[in-house]
């Protein structure tokens, strides 16, 4: 009997024992393109083949926008309480704990100040990974305080939205964060400080009905979902088939609600170019 003769029929290796590449080495974009993770990181987390902008969080955006990834985080230790003792299929504090454990984040926004192309910029960046980037009291307060910081230091302000909307577990308290954040933006406007709103995938609900649409410029990443009511709600309410590209960045640009769409690799340059132009400063190289 030859030594290589198969003694048993079929493949006997159990699934667990099959050799596999370690997780996270490759990324597959929605169109099916496979990208090496290192390659993706170098390319600003945009799939080089189809231009798909992968959902990233505050860590990555700060890395992209702040020089040498140097920044000072503001109000890093604010965390949520459970003022309404909210309980659905899960208790709200349990949801918070689970989210914190999963994401290593304290809530759905991080705010920071740092140099971007050599000049100070205040950025509030939402994290979708934390309960869908939902806006509760902490998100509202952190954004308000970051705006206050910008006001005090006379700095431009930027919010990167990535959120499903208001946080249901804080009910009306989260609704009031729309007013709280908008009031601050009004004060920034009165002080003549530029505010840039970047809409990323997804920007819906309460964020769209407040700061995401209130920028001196509203800009977006390509292909992001941006809207007030989610597409499913619109379809269910109206019974209409939604046109292709409904509520994408390109759709909003066409309907006049965005100033421009920018590829992530150009984001830092374009934001700073706008700031230089609107504040009548020489353009930074």
């Amino acid at each position: 009997m030859a030594w290589f003769k198969r003694k048993e029929k079929g493949i006997q290796t159990s699934t667990e024992q099959k050799k596999d590449t370690p997780k996270g080495l490759w990324y597959k974009s929605p169109t099916g393109k496979i990208v090496d993770s290192k390659e993706l990181e170098k390319n600003f987390y945009v799939s080089p083949e189809d231009g798909y902008h992968v959902r990233i969080g505050s860590k990555e955006y700060f890395e992209i926008l702040f020089d040498d990834n140097k920044f000072k985080e503001l109000d890093a230790n604010l965390t949520s309480k459970d003022p309404l003792k909210f309980e659905d299929t899960k208790k709200y504090p349990d949801r918070l704990k689970a989210a914190e454990k999963k994401t290593n984040l304290k809530d759905a926004v991080r705010c920071a100040v740092g140099k971007s192309k050599g000049k100070d910029l205040v950025i509030a960046c939402m994290d979708f990974a934390f309960i869908g980037g939902s806006m509760g009291s902490v998100v509202g307060e952190k954004i308000a305080r970051a705006a206050d910081y910008a006001l005090k230091k006379k700095l431009p302000f930027m919010i990167i939205s990535k959120s499903g909307g208001a946080r249901m577990m804080e009910a009306a308290l989260s609704l009031m964060q729309l007013a709280k954040t908008s009031a601050k933006l009004g004060q920034l406007a009165d002080a003549g400080l530029p505010y840039i709103s970047l809409c990323t995938d997804p920007t819906t609900g309460g964020t769209t009905a407040s700061f995401a649409m209130l920028g001196d410029i509203n800009i977006a990443e390509p292909g992001a979902l941006i809207g007030f009511a989610g597409p499913r709600v619109v379809r269910d309410t109206t019974g209409q088939e939604l046109p292709e590209g409904f509520q994408t960045s390109e759709f909003l640009l066409e309907h006049g609600f965005l100033d421009f769409i920018t590829h992530r690799k150009d984001l830092k340059n374009k934001v700073n170019k706008y700031i230089d132009l609107i504040t009548n400063q020489p353009l930074r190289a």
Binding site: T89, L173, L175, A183, S210, F228
Partner: protein, 317 residues
């Protein structure tokens, strides 16, 4: 009169009372005693039922088909002095959002509010009180005009939400609401806001930022309707009672977390059972609120308002 499910014991007693009175009129039998007894029992039953309303029952009352709507209030309060104004000056006139000028006593106010219909035809005409972006833009246009002439603003909230339609999205529903919220935080005239029915989410807040926020006793105000909350968090429409409970959406709960300043009492059984009294109470509440703010300078007024909203929210750290 239409009755909600939990009001059926009242319906039964009222029918008994009617019958009793008819017997009294048509025969020689003396029914005064019996009638009195039924009346007494009716009042006790009403008190018992309305004192212990669950959040979901209040939601039902806020949507009661006989409940007065925005224009009912305005017409009763302002009478002939009311002048309705139309249009957003860029797209069209939204029938779900109404606005106009009217007097209470000697003072002119700008009234803004979502309007619902009272039968199938008018409900459609008013789009069930769900405004489109042009509705919010009409409201803002009128508020800006009131600001120019120093006229205080009264907003009456009664909406199941901003309209989630395809065209509404195309015309920027989110932007329209956001713009209103921002501009209302810094409008230089007093804004008095009263929830008279349903206060659903951004659609309500889009005309709901003010110096004095009040709710009628049997209304609700939250970030989402109990039905939608149930469908998202429980993945079923069946948990609306629990959702109503969890959302803490009643006037009392809202006052506890300091989002509303005052609760306006309704007649026993709800605003619709005694409209005249309801209108009078609301009119008085508007006048009292205006009294509080009319002497503040525009700067103090706006600062106070921004401070009020800056304090909303509960967190650690």
């Amino acid at each position: 009169m239409e009755y909600l499910e939990f009001e059926l014991p009242i319906k039964e007693l009222e029918e008994q009372l009617d019958k009793c009175q008819v017997i009294g009129e048509e025969s020689d039998v003396d029914v005064t005693q019996t009638c009195k007894q039924i009346e007494k029992k009716l009042l006790a039953t009403k008190k018992e039922i309305y004192k212990n309303l669950t959040p979901w029952q209040r939601v039902q009352l806020s949507r009661h088909p006989n409940r007065p709507y925005t224009l009912d209030y305005i017409n009763a309060i302002c009478g002939d002095s009311f002048l309705e104004l139309h249009g957003d000056r860029s797209f069209k006139d939204d029938k779900a959002m109404i606005g106009g000028l009217g007097k209470i006593g000697d003072q002119t106010y700008l009234f803004i509010g979502q309007q619902k219909g009272y039968n199938t035809k008018t409900r459609q005409y008013r789009n069930f009180g769900m405004a489109n972006p042009e509705g919010y833009r009409k409201a803002l246009r009128l508020m800006k005009s009131a600001e120019k002439f120093g006229i205080p603003v009264v907003t009456l909230l009664d909406t199941p939400g901003a309209y989630p339609g395809l065209e509404a999205e195309e015309r920027g529903q989110g932007e329209a609401i956001a713009r209103n919220i921002l501009e209302m935080t810094r409008l230089k005239v007093p804004i008095i806001t009263i929830v008279i029915g349903e206060g659903a989410s951004g659609g309500a807040l889009g005309i709901g930022v003010g110096d004095k926020i009040m709710m009628l006793e049997n209304t609700w105000y939250s970030v989402i309707s109990p039905e939608s909350c149930s469908s998202i968090l429980w993945r079923s429409w069946e948990f609306k009672e629990q959702a109503a409970e969890a959302l803490k959406l009643t006037a009392k709960d809202m006052k506890k977390v300091k989002i509303v300043d005052d609760i306006i009492k309704e007649p026993l059984g709800g605003a619709h059972t005694d409209r005249e009294t309801t209108f009078k109470t609301v009119s008085k509440a508007i006048e009292d609120a205006y009294e509080e703010f009319k002497n503040l300078s525009p700067k103090d007024l706006v600062n106070k308002r921004i401070e009020k909203y800056s304090e909303m929210g509960v967190f650690k750290g």
